[in-house]
């Protein structure tokens, strides 16, 4: 069981003057149990790519293996609904999909669609609320009266209640304040490490990628430009710079110091490590 893409292409508005090739010949092997970031400029095909994971979009050519499901271009895919239960896709600004009268009901909506009884669905919803640390007091509130960050938690809980093996998030921290962003990323880390979910995050924020993710997929013009580990990707600024991506501050600092003749090792976990290296250099030359 894994997630693989073989020569997958996707074309929007084929056969019209607005024809647009969003993905072309994408080959990809996503490793389960890891946290993978998908980065790239707007229009590089990130969102199109992730919508193939649960069959919202179907490939114009090529073949996709997701868990046990095979989606092949040209043939009508079977079991799309069960796939959608296994691959939870959270859209950008998911708070706009809330519609029920109460938080609990809204979160239970997903499981109910997948054939669970009212009682089971409520149970699953309560469990999902715990996962996103929403207290019992929220259960009977209307989703509309919550703050932006809380609404987003409810929306994510709505996906988690379906108990997916893979969680895909399209820019989950867009529009949140720095504090909300950190809480959100900590949540995804916990889901990944404690609950062993495969997490895929579409993001523009390199600090997030650096601090939280295991692997990076860089999309450019509808193709996979780079697919590697975070350590490799952030070894130095050169790869980021060649992609017009601003590297994390830590890497920029490290590279700027190295340019001035400091000897600092490349693998850098966090700020403590960097400060130790700098202190050693400054004190002993």
């Amino acid at each position: 069981m894994s997630i693989t893409f073989e020569k997958v292409s996707h074309i929007y508005s084929d056969g019209t003057p607005y024809r647009f090739v969003a993905l072309s010949d994408v080959d990809l092997d996503i490793i389960e149990g890891q946290m993978t970031a998908i980065v790239g400029q707007t229009g590089s095909g990130k969102s199109t790519l992730v919508q193939h994971l649960n069959g919202l979009l179907l490939p114009a050519s090529g073949k996709i293996n997701v868990l046990d499901h095979v989606i092949e271009a040209g043939s009508h895919p079977k079991g799309l609904k069960s796939l959608r239960g296994k691959v939870g896709l959270v859209f950008q600004f998911p708070e706009y999909q809330l519609f029920e009268e109460t938080v609990l009901k809204d979160i239970a909506f997903g499981p109910k669609n997948f054939g669970f009884t009212e009682k089971e669905a409520i149970e699953k919803a309560r469990h999902a609320m715990k996962l996103v640390s929403l207290g019992k007091e929220f259960e009977e509130k209307s989703p509309l009266e919550l703050s932006g960050g809380q609404k987003r938690r409810v929306a994510i809980a709505g996906i988690l209640a379906m108990d997916p093996q893979v969680l895909v998030l399209d820019e989950p921290t867009a529009g949140l304040d720095p504090q909300g962003t950190i809480q959100m990323m900590e949540l995804f880390r916990e889901l990944n490490q404690k609950h062993h979910k495969t997490v895929l995050i579409v993001t523009h924020d390199m600090e997030q990628v650096f601090n939280y993710c295991d692997r990076v997929i860089v999309m450019a013009k509808g193709s996979v430009h780079t697919h590697t580990t975070c350590e490799e990707f952030f070894r130095d600024s050169s790869l980021c710079n060649s992609l017009a991506i601003l590297p994390p501050a830590l890497i920029r600092m490290k590279d700027a110091l190295k340019e001035k003749g400091f000897t600092i090792k490349d693998e850098m976990e966090d700020i403590h490590e960097l400060s130790k290296e700098i202190a050693r250099e400054v004190k002993h030359g």
């Binding site: 707007t42 720095p178 110091l257 400054v282 030359g285």
Partner: protein, 274 residues
């Protein structure tokens, strides 16, 4: 002379005050940022100053004139505001029409409009896109059009209400560049509500809000030193400040810097002294 003077400002949507006795002043020509997490009341203050919401008590004085029902029309011409969502403030069907919208409202004679549209679209680097429809523009481009539309009305004060928060990194950079260029010209007073720590570092003055009250204010380098207070209200600090603190723990005494370059230079000097 102060462009904006806010005294004991209070505001409530229903019962509970979301802005509580806020007082601050922004001198003419300065670039002031307002920070605070979502729900701290910062956007509400922006809308109060722009006259889009009505205060409960306190006063807002713009260019020496108090904002009230009689002066609102006159004062509104002095204030331009750029909002968060690039789509929801694009009113015209093309870039040209959108910039013209404000001019029409200000009764600018028709023959004078085209030169104005061209001038201001050039200032934000959008002159090549004048006939484009919004669906064919990126988020950053739409926000630049919004800025041009506001600038064309010759405001004295420009407010950015989280104008970059919905944009991708490229769009954010575009808008920050436009803001810096405007600031360099020194003609405008800029009040920017933001989460962007990089933008805060570049501003002249920062106001930090929490739960509708001002908790800190000052120059960015002063503000960032008050780490405990910032931690309390869960606001971010630039990377260089974090690193300086770590280094001090290890016995390296170094000044605080807002930029990586500045910090690298001091570290180099420290090293060569050894």
């Amino acid at each position: 002379m102060n462009a904006i003077e806010v005294k004991d400002l209070c505001f409530a949507y229903d019962k509970e005050d979301v802005v509580k006795k806020v007082s601050f002043s922004v001198p003419k020509g300065t670039y002031c940022t307002v920070v605070g997490h979502n729900g701290s009341g910062k956007s509400t203050i922006a809308k109060l100053i722009a006259g889009l919401l009505e205060k409960r008590s306190g006063s807002i004085i713009i260019d020496g004139i108090e904002l009230n029902d009689q002066t609102i029309c006159k004062l509104r011409n002095k204030i331009g505001i750029v909002f968060q969502n690039p789509d929801n403030q694009f009113i015209g069907s093309t870039v040209r029409d959108d910039i013209a919208f404000g001019l029409e409202n200000h009764n600018v004679p028709q023959p004078e409009m085209d030169p104005i549209i061209e001038e201001f679209s050039k200032r934000v680097g959008m002159s090549e896109f004048l006939n484009n429809e919004p669906t064919r523009l990126s988020g950053g481009q739409k926000q630049r059009v919004a800025i041009a539309g506001v600038l064309a009305m010759h405001p004295d004060i420009l407010i950015f209400d989280e104008a970059t928060s919905m944009l991708d990194p490229q769009g954010k950079d575009e808008i920050k560049k436009v803001i810096m260029n405007l600031h360099k010209e020194k003609e405008l007073t800029i009040l920017s509500i933001t989460h962007d720590i990089d933008e805060v570092s570049k501003s002249d003055y920062v106001i930090a809000l929490n739960q509708g009250q001002i908790v800190l204010q000052g120059k960015p380098e002063e503000l960032f030193q008050n780490e405990e207070k910032l931690k309390e209200i869960q606001l971010d600090v630039p990377f260089t400040f974090k690193l300086t603190k770590e280094l001090k723990k290890l016995g390296v005494s170094i000044n605080n810097h807002l930029t990586i370059e500045g910090m690298v230079n001091e570290l180099c000097q420290l090293r060569s002294k050894k």
